[in-house]
Every structure is written in structure tokens, then in C-alpha cells.
Symmetry: C2
Subunit: 342 residues, 2 copies
Amino acid sequence: MKKVAIGIDIGGTNTAIGVVDAEGVILYERKPQMATPQKAENPDMKKDMSDKLLAKFVKDLSDEIKKAIEAAGKGNPDIEVAGIGIGAPNANYYSGTIEHAPNLPFVGVINFAELIKANFPTLKFVKLTNDANAAALGELIYGGGRGMKNFALMTLGTGLGSGLIVNGDLVYGADGFAGECGHVTVVPDGRLCGCGGRGHLEAYCSATGIKRTVYELLAKYNDSKSPLSDIPMNQMTSKKVFDAAEAGDPIAKEVFQITGEILGRALADTVHYLSPEAIFLFGGAAAAGDYIFKPTKESMERHLMPVFRNKVKILPSKLKESTAAILGASALVWKEIEKSSL
Amino acid sequence: MKKVAIGIDIGGTNTAIGVVDAEGVILYERKPQMATPQKAENPDMKKDMSDKLLAKFVKDLSDEIKKAIEAAGKGNPDIEVAGIGIGAPNANYYSGTIEHAPNLPFVGVINFAELIKANFPTLKFVKLTNDANAAALGELIYGGGRGMKNFALMTLGTGLGSGLIVNGDLVYGADGFAGECGHVTVVPDGRLCGCGGRGHLEAYCSATGIKRTVYELLAKYNDSKSPLSDIPMNQMTSKKVFDAAEAGDPIAKEVFQITGEILGRALADTVHYLSPEAIFLFGGAAAAGDYIFKPTKESMERHLMPVFRNKVKILPSKLKESTAAILGASALVWKEIEKSSL
């Protein structure tokens, strides 16, 4: 028998489902992705309506998992499912719950692992964590973190998520929610963050943060020649800033310079905390290559104590963005098997 | 047989030696402490002279350890030494080395654990770490951290040291030097730090940082009525600031307020990284009680994401300052025994 893991990624819009082997080969992936149930128009959604939506989602998702296992089995008749790993917003690894997730329509604290497990009673492992933690586990099990005992992964997307690997395992902390590096303060009393705080890393070093820096610089320089001056904020992307930098626009270059300066200083703090072997950058903003990696590395080294200098690599994630969510979630299963065999 | 651990703390001036049982009772402590060899007047001390000093120190220390074991055995005839734990500046847990310690006269990288072990060939464990890490282990094994799996300890002394406990063990990182929270940036381009960096936590939230804040405020207010105005900087201590606050001095109170504001913001970052169950404060500056704990707690809560609020305790260390160094170093031994039995 060949053991496989189910990887589920519950996003605000879609839910990805895949069947993955121990080497990170995706044997089957549901395409198109399943739709995640959406919030009702009434923002004060009542608990009973939430419960109905949840019951339907659990049933539909379980059915889709069964179909995925069947589909994967066609080309691989000897597979055996070792467990289900789920990446979800506000997911708690310890309790298997999803708690007050702002982008999901479920009210309160949901015993999600338990609900799914009820439909797969023979499975030993149904585990949950948030998407950035799952990405770090994916990097550990299948990616650039293989063989490392200590590293950090930062996902530079709409927000900035992070997963921290210490002594070979993910840091969940006392409550299951550790690794929220997007919300460390990098500029005291600085930009308003989505969480309500001020000056957080995520407000500067994410796709959203990059966008904000673009308009801060456009306001500062009032440079009508910058191609960025022709793009409204709601249409701005990290890719467009990258294209402008490639075309020689000094404002676009300065945007990455500023982003890297702040990110590098924050990563120096990460090193002062955890002294990782490497820090992986993942996600759209990290795709800007040297524009972001160079100033980040330069700033990190400058902000490090001498004892830590020239030791820590800043690397692009080895997982492809298109499959990282499924891989990361499935990695939860292999990690759980490893832990249970200790 | 009753197992005991030897705890050694190598400071810049003195070296403490004690024999400790598994419950943290110090069966014997050398008094007065042994003198640590001092740097020669010539700052470019040659390697051969350093080696001679080191050889003598290793021999003397080993002799003193043997005497301590003998002395402890008088009242406790059935003791058996389980290992030696050593707290030392720039000590590397993994390699057992002391590396380029600025306050010790030994040049380069010293294989200290190996040198000591040569004099105690039957002992299984001779382990080293730095003093703040040792303090955190002491808190874990004997102190307020017993039963906790995730906590941080900050030592507010001349500098700010830290030890981080994650998943029940100390965070050493990839190179053995993790947990340098004193050198995270809290004020970009702020005060010069002893390490050469700028705006580090240690430059604000240590006995030295408190002193600097005193003179910053004296300069700001030019208040001749403050009792602090009568004390030269070289004679200022956290205790004197505490006394002035107790006597109602508004500048002294503001000093603690500012210190707590910055420390609390940094501890919120610690929570965002590691989500610990508690953060322990240790050392002279922590002795100011509510003057420092209250603004720190208030600031930490204010700077936390909602999910982390009202979860994390800020607590005074349960170890006495006079014995914490020996206890912390000895805790290395019990932790090593625990790990080896897994």
C-alpha cells in the first residue's frame, strides 16, 4: 500500500482539495476548486443559519474528499489514506477548531476537525492549522526546508502571514495561534493595520503594503511621468510595480527599496528571536526577485548583531504558488505521523 | 542514590559553583564565589597567554567542583552527580564552546565543555548555554514555568537577555545563539545599543536603558526639584529611580511609564511570534514591581491583535536573584536527562 494524505485549503472564496503522496506529488486535485460558502448579506448572521451552512459545507466537502480519493485511486490502485490536513483561516491546531474567522460565514468557534472526522471514522489524523503555518510545513516536508530544523516562512500576499519552525516542528504556542509576524510593530504609531493596530509589518511588507507605499511616494514626488501615476489604487498590483521597475521607473524601484528596508529590519528581529537557518519568502510580492530580495538581505544584515551576520539565507519558497496550499495542508498529515512514531 | 546537578555560572568578575538537587534545593554553594580570570592589561592578548589562563582556570574550576561535590556529600552521603551545567557569556549549547566572549580573557572559540569533561570522564553531561537561556531553564525546571510548554523570560539587568521556551524546550536556533530579544529594533534609528546597532530593546528596557531615560527626561524638563537631579549618571540605579517614584517624583514615574510602554510593545511582538503562556521578568529593573509591570501589561495588551488579548500573563520570575544563576545552570542537566530518556 502507498500512503497518501488529503490536503484541503479553505479560502474565503474557494476550497482546494488534493490527494498527495509522501514525496509531494499531487496524485489528484479537484478542478475547478469547490466554492466556499459565502457570508449572508445580513452581517448579523444568526447562529442557526450559520449551523445549517456549516452542516451542508461539511457534508459537501466530505463527499468531495471521498470522490477525490476515488479519482486518485484510479491511477493508483494501491493507495491508503493516512489522514486529512486542512489549512483554514483562524484554525487552531490543538483544538481542531476554526475560531471567529472573519472571511468565513460560520459564527463563533467551530469544531471543524471533529465534524469532518465523523465522516471518516477510520482515519487517525484530521488536523487543522492556518494557511501560513501549513505553507511552512509544506516547505519543511516537501520544499526548501527539508533537512532544516529551524526556519521561518513569510507569505507576502494581501496580508503577511508566517510560519515558524523551531527544533523541527511548527511553533503553535500556548493557544495554537503563534506565528503572527505580520502584526509585529515595525513603525511605532505608523500605518493603520487591518487588525486595528498601528505600524505593523503587514501594513508595509505585503502586496497591500507595497500598494500603499506606491501612493505615498506618488504623493511625495507628484511625478506624472511615472507609469504608476496612471493606475488607480484599486487596480494596483505588485506585478505592476515590478513591471514599472523593470521599465526603469525610479518610484517603483524606491517602493521595493523601502519595502526591503523594513522587511529586512523585521527579519533581523526574527533572527534575534529564533536564529533560523533560513527565511523563506512566499507569494506574489516575493515574485519581484532581486528588487525585493536584495534590499531585504542588505537591510537584514545591517540590522543584525555581529554574531548572526552572514549566516542566515533569505530564499524564495520552493513550492509553486498554485499547489502550495494543498501541499502545505497535506504536510500536516506526514508531520503528525512522524510525531506519533516518536 | 540521590541525583544532583552541578550548576556553574561564569560571570565577568566571579564564577558561582553550586550543587543542586532535582527539586532546586542548593545542597552546597561555594562562598565566596571563585574569581573569574581577568583580561590582561594588554588588550591584544596573545593566544598563548590566553591558553595558559584558560588551562589554569579549567584546572582550578575542576578542583573547586570536586571540592563542592565533597562538601555537599558530607550532609548528603548518598548523592550521585548527574552532570554539570554551565552558564557563560557567548556560550554555544550545541558545540559546548564559549565564542569570542567580550568579558572573558579567552581569545577565540574555546571548547569549554570538552575541557571540563576531560576532568570528569565518567559524567554523561557537561552542557553550556548563556546566562539568560539558563535562567529560562531554571524557571522551567524549578520556577514559575513548571508545567508550561511555552513561555519567555526576559532578564532586565545591565543589558536585556532572554530565553525562549517553545514546545517545552529552549530555543537555541540553527547556530545555538537564539533568544537575543534585547537586540530587536523597537525605535527605528533610535538610541545607540552596546552591540553597535540602533534603537534596540536593550537600549530602553534594561537598567542601563532606564538610566538613559532618566537623563533624557531631566534634560527635557530641567526640574531641579526632582531628587534624580542630584545624582550623577554613573551613580544612578533602577533602585534609586524606584525610590524617587515611591517618594512621588513625577519624573521617576514617567521613566517607568516610558520603559513599560516600550517593553509592553516589544512583548506584544513576542506574543505575535510565539504566543507564550506567560512572560517572566527577572532582574533588578523588574524589582520595581507595579511601576514597571503595570505600564508594561497595559501597553502589551494595547499592542496585541484581538485574538491574543487577556491570555498572556506577565509575571515576576519565581527564582531569587541570588541563586538563579546556579539554579539555571544546573537545570541544563535535568533537561538533558529528560531529553535523553525520550
